[in-house]
Symmetry: C2
Subunit: 270 residues, 2 copies
């Protein structure tokens, strides 16, 4: 599952994930909070980019955060400790082989994880089983096919396609956001409600120009340059032009659009 | 300007425009209303699809609605009369040669019009001139490059590309929505604020599945079949498969996404 993780585990990547959470935290998380005393499973917490927000927004809830990577978990532990948060515990675990009894959690939260999984429906079924009857699951995913911009650029679209292809080759799906409704429904979850969270960036929003267009999205595309060239799916000229054109959408006449999808569903009472 | 209007003027097309306004009226118009006594210019009113909503939402404002086509204006007049609305007058006029003194209007409204114009910035300048100092302009446009869906389909994307190309050949721009901020800024308008209005449709929203995915978007693509085949930009197999695939996004596992852009700006006080 984790071996094909396309974004890698290096420090700059972690910084990008952190930038991302910092810039998008309002958009994605304003409506995520859990009642005092409730137990929440965060599946695939990685380096804890979302964990800090979750634990801060719901200080009286108890979070169990699992990930496949011990390296990531060590970082997540350090950050949670540095933030003085005491309502989080971490565990090394695989979503498809969770070390918890069925019905152990009141809520499940999973963010930017399904996109990397070969069998997302199976993962959702496993997470559903971890929920008590009536418990909720919240899923957040991006969709790289939702990116469009001005000035439009074929090279930029090619560079984005590289990330989509690399992620597909690694068993994932970089355009999974749009599929959340059918995926959760197929996994047997009930009352699936999907809410798209569109990031619209023009020059009147300098914080998003810098924090999203440049440092989140374009930096992410730039980050797969070596892998894309090694895989032979693009030439260096086209890729580099694509990245330059993406940066150009952060110019004074530029516009950048991207949509995240947030789904909430529940296990049902049956 | 109007000669290349890609959607044509036939009755079924009018019905589609009406369906569209009926389904999207909340999304696009909930925040459009004008104070009593104010004078509003609707530029390019067509058959009055938006006019009814405007005039109903602001019963004490006075609307002057202009269009190039006498045939469309006649229909718009009939519909406004049938609806019992008395705060609307119509005039045959060209946006680029408006028969009004500069500064004649408190507000300007223009919806699904710029996409068909060869020189949208020039049109916006002309509309800005029609505004009194401090008057506002509201612009709504779609963006066919914002359409994505599940199941994804190359043929469906090809069919959409046909409409984009035909509209470009006619001098228009079917992906103009994303450009509203730079266009209005370039036209010298002030305090440009763009608000994207995303239509997200999954099977939990049967009214939108029917009213938007099928009867608005897919019907619009289907409507250019003959023109696309005549223009030789697609073969009938690919186009027909594309349309079938678009209808498939209205199925129980389907999802359809599209974004309209609404911009509000003002003339400034200089």
């Amino acid at each position: 599952m984790g071996r094909g993780y396309v974004h890698g585990y290096d420090p700059r990547e972690n910084e990008r994930l952190q930038d991302q959470a910092g810039t998008l935290v309002e958009l994605l998380h304003w409506d995520t909070s859990y009642p005092g005393g409730s137990s929440v499973l965060e599946a695939g917490c990685g380096v804890g980019a979302q964990t800090l927000t979750l634990a801060r927004n719901s200080p009286e809830a108890r979070f169990t955060c699992v990930d496949l990577s011990e390296v990531s978990l060590a970082q997540a532990r350090r950050r949670v400790a540095a933030a003085g948060l005491t309502n989080v515990q971490f565990q090394n675990a695989d979503i498809l082989a969770l070390p918890y009894e069925a019905g152990s959690f009141d809520h499940v939260f999973v963010c930017f994880v399904l996109e990397h999984l070969r069998r997302p429906v199976e993962a959702l079924r496993a997470l559903g089983t971890a929920l008590r009857p009536g418990g909720t699951i919240t899923v957040i995913e991006g969709d790289h096919g939702s990116a469009y911009f001005h000035p439009d650029s074929e090279a930029a679209r090619e560079a984005i396609r590289c990330l989509v292809e690399l992620q597909r080759a690694a068993g994932g799906n970089a355009m999974i956001g749009r599929e959340l409704h059918p995926l959760l429904t197929t996994a047997g979850l009930s009352e699936v409600h999907v809410s798209p969270r569109m990031v619209y960036v023009d020059s009147s929003k300098p914080d998003l120009v810098d924090g999203f267009t440049k440092k989140t999205f374009t930096a992410m595309i730039e980050g797969v340059r070596e892998s894309a060239l090694e895989a032979g799916i693009v030439g260096p000229e086209v890729f580099d032009r694509g990245v330059r054109d993406l940066y150009a959408t952060a110019g004074s006449n530029g516009v950048f659009c991207y949509t995240f999808f947030k789904a909430v569903a529940n296990r049902g009472w049956a």
